[in-house]
Symmetry: C2
Subunit: 369 residues, 2 copies
């Protein structure tokens, strides 16, 4: 195998492979990248065993790129890393078990691994695809993955649960302290409804790897899911087990509605978060103000915000983790935010005051000290 | 004590105090900042016990700043940190043992410490000062501190040795693997020659805290040294013990001179440094080229550079740590660099080809494998 590729194209491919290129795996060959050169295309595969990315580079002679001898081989990550320090065309030539990387008066040799030892990445699907626009995909991912669990105590909660349906798809993530739900419509499919638990990590990777001016095609199968976009395909195993039934967790009725300026609330929470020692903030409503307060070691603070409207319980007060509410507030794009409560010890929601919005953020309170 | 200070001024003062504000000390009160308010000026002192900074803020009513009640008190670092998240004027008022920080509807309380418990920072000098321009001070510091030792195996080597003299001052730093020496002239003083071992850390801090369009005044005393610049004074204990005699370490005669393009040499070293597993690079000179080479785990590489001139030993070859040569090359501003050798196992120097330059970088080779 011998090919010439510009440093820019190598670096773009490395960026697209992202986390999957540098992830540690117990299978040594997965530390490498499977490179397959045909007459007019170079296919790169990176995988951590659970998630994979396949990126196809069309070889266009206009760029000075060229495939001189087709073939396949597994290159080490370092083989590509070196391109970060280079400009212009780079020649890659496999000689025996090494790849020789040359440019001008520079010559580097890296050992390779056998392409036949690289695990097969299967992206076949046994059902019709779901197709959604790039912006819809981005909305679905940015509004949910942050709420998925970051630790493996309950592995299923590291997933985003996606129930696709051509009428109204619902995407949910929760770490059991907060929950984010978004409805997406406009998904094209010939498929019946399907419910999948997709690792949040592959969705975050997709946002980095994809060209979101183009559609995203979702191909579910028995144990895995593939996301295709342009020349890039991401593939992941699905998480096993039943995703908890979240449909009844979000209350439909509330007795207390509070509307405040979103930016002022964010600023107040961030200020007090910096001094809070137990990551808890108290929100209290009196006749004119919302009063936020926090205590730390040798410090305490309060911030008053004039509310836009309040309708509900008298002397209302609730404590919560500012981190969760901040995460939610930062994903609402409206000037104002509507917080809906059912008393001091009941879950509350943050929603956009824009009735078009399909996203709901649920947050559990903490016991008031 | 009560004063009003703009968030910008608080943040500027925090930036000037830099590392000294956040440094850990076994003396609890040093975690705080001594704040002294007189009628027209606010004086802030931060210290780690070894090094100190005193920064004076002249209170100008045009900025909206004001001192309402003079006094002194030790504030915690957190008291100032909060200003990072604020804009506009902030009111600081000491009430009993707390300081209350207010702005608009925000109110924060922080516990304080007693100003009488804060160690006295002594910046008196028993001899006439040395005065040098801001740019000369910057040159002296940037050309030497990087070569001082980063670890405490031989504490004296964490210092930069400064021999001030009104005719020709010499500034030296070494970590025993490399040495940097710079001659500075144009220092104004009525003083006799003095030789001081100044911690490299205080010099690096000075570069960050000082306004280098203004002169730097150096005030040496028995056990300490002060650097004054505008409204800022940095003070440090001197390191005890004799600094090694470095005057004979830099050879005066060389048998091999090599001139190469500095940028090409830097690029070549950085490329090969990335693949070298033992941080060693070999430099070999043949009839036309300088060949750099390195070996790593499962990889090796070579880079050829056309030299500009070579005069010396035939089949010359030397191995060294690329880190040390790169550090030196990056502090030379010339297009070309002159490397001067005395054989493969002797220390070599990197100097600017500009004869005006007063800096010499000495590097020890490593045994060739």
């Amino acid at each position: 195998m011998k090919f010439i590729l510009s440093a820019i194209d190598v670096n773009e491919a490395v960026a697209k492979m992202g986390r999957l290129l540098s992830s540690k795996s117990i299978i040594p060959i997965l530390a490498g990248v499977l490179v397959e050169a045909t007459e007019d295309c170079l296919m790169l595969t990176a995988s951590d065993g659970m998630e994979s990315i396949i990126h196809r580079l069309m070889i266009d002679e206009v760029d000075g790129n060229a495939i001189l001898t087709p073939g396949k081989c597994v290159f080490s990550k370092e083989t590509f890393d070196i391109a970060k320090k280079l400009k212009g065309p780079i020649t890659f030539e496999v000689v025996d078990t090494n790849v020789i990387v040359t440019q001008n008066k520079l010559s580097l040799e890296f050992t390779t691994m056998d392409a036949n030892d690289y695990p097969k990445v299967n992206v076949e699907s046994n059902s019709a695809p779901f197709v959604l626009s790039g912006p819809s995909f981005m909305e679905m991912v940015t509004l949910t993955t942050f709420a998925a669990s970051k630790n493996d105590v309950r592995p299923i909660l590291t997933a985003v649960n996606m129930t696709f349906n051509k009428d109204k798809s619902v995407i949910v993530a929760t770490d059991s302290h907060r929950l984010s739900r978004v409805f997406i419509d406009g998904i094209k499919s010939e498929n019946d409804e399907v419910s999948l638990s997709v690792p949040a990590t592959i969705l975050d990777q997709a946002l980095k790897s994809f060209d979101l001016t183009k559609d995203v095609i979702i191909l579910p199968s028995q144990n895995s899911i593939a996301f295709a976009n342009g020349n890039t395909v991401l593939n992941s195993r699905l998480l096993e087990g039943n995703y908890p039934d979240t449909s009844r967790l979000i209350p439909t009725d509330f007795n207390t509605d509070l509307v405040v300026n979103r930016k002022e609330l964010i600023d107040g929470l961030e200020l007090l978060q910096a001094i809070s020692s137990n990551s808890t903030i108290n929100l209290k409503v009196d006749s004119m103000f919302v009063e936020l307060s926090a205590k730390g070691t040798g410090t305490k603070g309060t911030k008053e915000i004039v509310f836009e409207s309040y309708d509900g319980l008298e002397d209302f007060s609730i404590s919560f983790s500012p981190l969760y509410l901040l995460d939610a507030l930062k994903r609402i794009t409206d000037t104002s935010v509507l917080l809906r409560f059912n008393g001091p010890m009941q879950p509350f929601v943050a929603v956009s005051t824009d009735s078009e919005s399909k996203a709901t953020q649920l947050i559990l309170p903490v016991r008031q000290s």
